[in-house]
Every structure is written in structure tokens, then in C-alpha cells.
Symmetry: C2
Amino acid sequence: MKSTKRKNMQPEERRAQLLGCAQILFFSKGFEDTTVQDVLDLAGVSKGGFYHHFKSKDELLFGVLDGMAEGVFSQMDLVASDETSSALELLRSFIHLRANYLREHDYPGQVEFFKVMNQDKNLVLLEQFKRRVRTGAMPVLTRIIQKGCDEGTFAVADIDTAAELILFLSTFMDLALLRAIEARGAETADHAAGKLQAAIDMQFLTIDRILGLPDGTTDFGWPEAVDVTMATEPPPPPSTN
Amino acid sequence: MKSTKRKNMQPEERRAQLLGCAQILFFSKGFEDTTVQDVLDLAGVSKGGFYHHFKSKDELLFGVLDGMAEGVFSQMDLVASDETSSALELLRSFIHLRANYLREHDYPGQVEFFKVMNQDKNLVLLEQFKRRVRTGAMPVLTRIIQKGCDEGTFAVADIDTAAELILFLSTFMDLALLRAIEARGAETADHAAGKLQAAIDMQFLTIDRILGLPDGTTDFGWPEAVDVTMATEPPPPPSTN
DNA sequence: CTCTTGAAAACCGACCAGCGGTTTGTAACT
DNA sequence: AGTTACAAACCGCTGGTCGGTTTTCAAGAG
């Protein structure tokens, strides 16, 4: 029998490689439109080899998702276990972390990634990822709110519900952010920037109310946040002078 | 050539029939797990016949979704065009409509339907449906808030953003409702009921803040809402004495 | 009013490429 | 030598296509 060249690797190494290839493909073509064969071709592995490491295509998806979420969660944990900061400060860090995990964590194409992830074809991917983030962030946020209540800073009827709602607000912000990013450079950019600012304001307004804080307490949005978001340069069109 | 009996129908009729069969199957087996062949068998139509009316399986999905959303939207429009009511009353009607469209609109198995729809395998279905509802409900809610601002009842920085956030709150409520429904009959039922009440309270608290209303203005949840939700009897297991 | 006609609409069912996943055997490492 | 890591052929089934067949229905003829 003729046989192609073959390169054995350590299981973890192969796994990582396959996850990497899968991530690239999932986020460009979408999960459904990515064939296992696509992954196979990109990684240079046979089907048998693949199914030796992953028992299904779904497991591959969850693997990718886990890999992405891992870093965020550990950072969150780190933030929340800081005993010296007040609950309010912790909350501030938490929200910024949640809002910027793309920027902090990843390769330069984070914005592109964000856009691709929000396309219709990646609906499954996105929703599955959101769930991971939510379930992973819940305990951390709960702990922070608990601490705030103990301190007497926060006044909340039900901690879990409060935490959950705040995390939902993040989803709301994601949508606003997406719209803003998509409008960058277009003539509607100013309008989009206004909407983004409105969403940010409303987010913090709502958090104040959820936690029983006086108006304006959690105005964590630093002033130039919107400008920063709208300014990330797309590859400058040569027509610009 | 032998030929099976064949029954031609008006296009709309066939379309409706296929949509009906699809709806049943989608919500029992899930979208991905439902084969077009399944629909074919249930409807007694051949593949060619099917693809004469629908150009893809996805179009079938969107057809089902549209059919479901249609009724809600028309009701919403009706509600919002009532000139005699105040904005606050309109909002009340709107929220109740949004919260109860399953109960109002459908066959007796609404709860079952809700549960099935929230299963993991129906993620696409659910999310796609939510989007429809959101985009369809947006203009109505916007109009209501606009009216409230004109009246001087509401005070909102950005109407669209406010409307969007309120609709996101509905999603939040859906989750809470789902948890409650799933806990019915279990020994955690009381706990779940508490959480549901907390979510309801927090929803209205948040809406107050969003619209710039004094605390407690939009306490639209009628007192026995939670009990009603938790009480729907499941088919009583014969092991119960 | 009935009958013919013919084109368009409705429909059938065999067929296909490609999918996720399995199996069986073999090369490579320890 | 035994186990691990992989290859390649294979399988059942899926969504979708295609050429052909049947119904329908309106218009024209008698």
C-alpha cells in the first residue's frame, strides 16, 4: 500500500493545532459551513486522526469556545479576589474586563473577529459563546455583589437576579458596540457614535438602579470610550488624501 | 408506470400545510434534527413537490417563524394605535402582550412549546425567533415611548436605545420564566418562584429607571402572576398518592 | 353551453455530491 | 512488544437537483 508522509505529534499538540485551525475556519466561514474536512485539509490530518482526538464536531466547537473563554475567566477570578478593593472598584474592573476582553486578549484582528462572530451564519457560535461567558462570569459577579451588600454599598433584593441582569446588559452593549463598529467610516458614523454613547449611559444608569446606588455612581465609561471605538483605522483607502 | 394517488392543491394551501407540518416537527424534534423527508412524509408530498414551493429548508424555517410572529405584531400594532390611552397604559398593554403571547395566541401546549423551544438543539430556532420579535416590536415600542415623551410622562435620553433595552429585558424575563417553568413540581419550586418574582420586580424597577419614572410606576405585574405560572398542572404522575 | 386544446402550474421520485462519523489496518514511538 | 497516533476506505443519510408526468384552467371552436 502506498502511504503518505506521516507526522506523529503529542496528543495535546495535535489537539491544539486542530483547535487552532478550527477556530480560524469557524470564525471565517461559520460553524455550520465549516466541514470537518476543511479542518482536516488545513491541518493536514486524516479523518481517522481527527476522530482519534475529538469524538464529534460539536466537541471541537466546545473546545474552541473553552479556549477562548478560559483567559477571560481566569482574569475575572483574579480581579474578584482582590480583597483590598471596594466592591465598587471591583465592579468597575469587572465591567471593563467584560467589555474589553476582545481588545485585551487577542490578536490584532479582534474587531474583525467581533464582526464575523455577529454574522447570521455564526448565530450558533455566538450564542453558545455568550452562554459560556455568562455562566462563567456569574459566580464572579455574584461574589462582587455579595461583597457590596456586605459592605452596605449595594442594596439588592436578589443577588443572583441582579448579577444575571447585569450580564444581560453586557449583551445589550455588545449589540450597540457592533452597530457602532459597523458604521465606522460610513456617513452614519456620527449618528452611530451618538447611539453608542446613549447605550453606555443607559447601561450605567440601569446598573445604578439594579444595585440600589445613587444616580451616576457607576459611570465607569471613560470619556473617550466612544471615540476610541469609532477610531480604529480600517486599512486606509488610497483615495484618501 | 405505476403512480401513487396525487392530490393537487392551491399553492397557498399546500404552503400552509407544509408550514404546519414543519412547525409541528421543528418544535418537537428541533430544526436540525428534522429532515425535509420528515416533513414530506407527514404532509404526504414528494420532494419535488416540496421544492416547488420552498427553495430551501431555511426558507421553510423563516416561513414558520413569520407565521408565528405575524399574529403578535398585528396585536401590537393594534394596541399601540389606541389614541385614547396614555403612554403608560399603552406600555402596560405592550408588556403584557409581549409576556403572554404564548398564552394568548396558541394551542393548549404553549408551555410545552416554550420549554421545547428553549432546548439546546433549538438554539437556532429560538434565537432567530427572538430576533424577529425584537425587530418587529421595536417600531411599536418606539412609538409608545415617543408618545410618552411628548406627553411629558417619560424622560428619555435616546428613544431607540430605551426601546431596545426594554426589549432585551423581555429576553431576560424569558429566561427567568423558563427556569421557573422547569422547576414546577420539583422541590426547588418555591425557590424558583422567588427568583421569578425577583426577576419581575427587577424588570419593572429597571423600566422605571430607563423611562425616567418614579420608583414603582410601572409595577405592571399583577400579584398572582408567579402563582399562575407555577401552577399549570403537569399530567399528574400515577405514583403520586 | 360543451368540447377541445395547450401551456403553465403542481407534483413525482430517482438521483447526486458531500456531510459527519466508523472501521480496519498500519506506521511510529516508548 | 505493546500501545499510541494516525491513514484511508467506507457507510448511512442529508439537503438539494432534475427530467419527466399529471392537473388545472382559460381560451377558442363548434
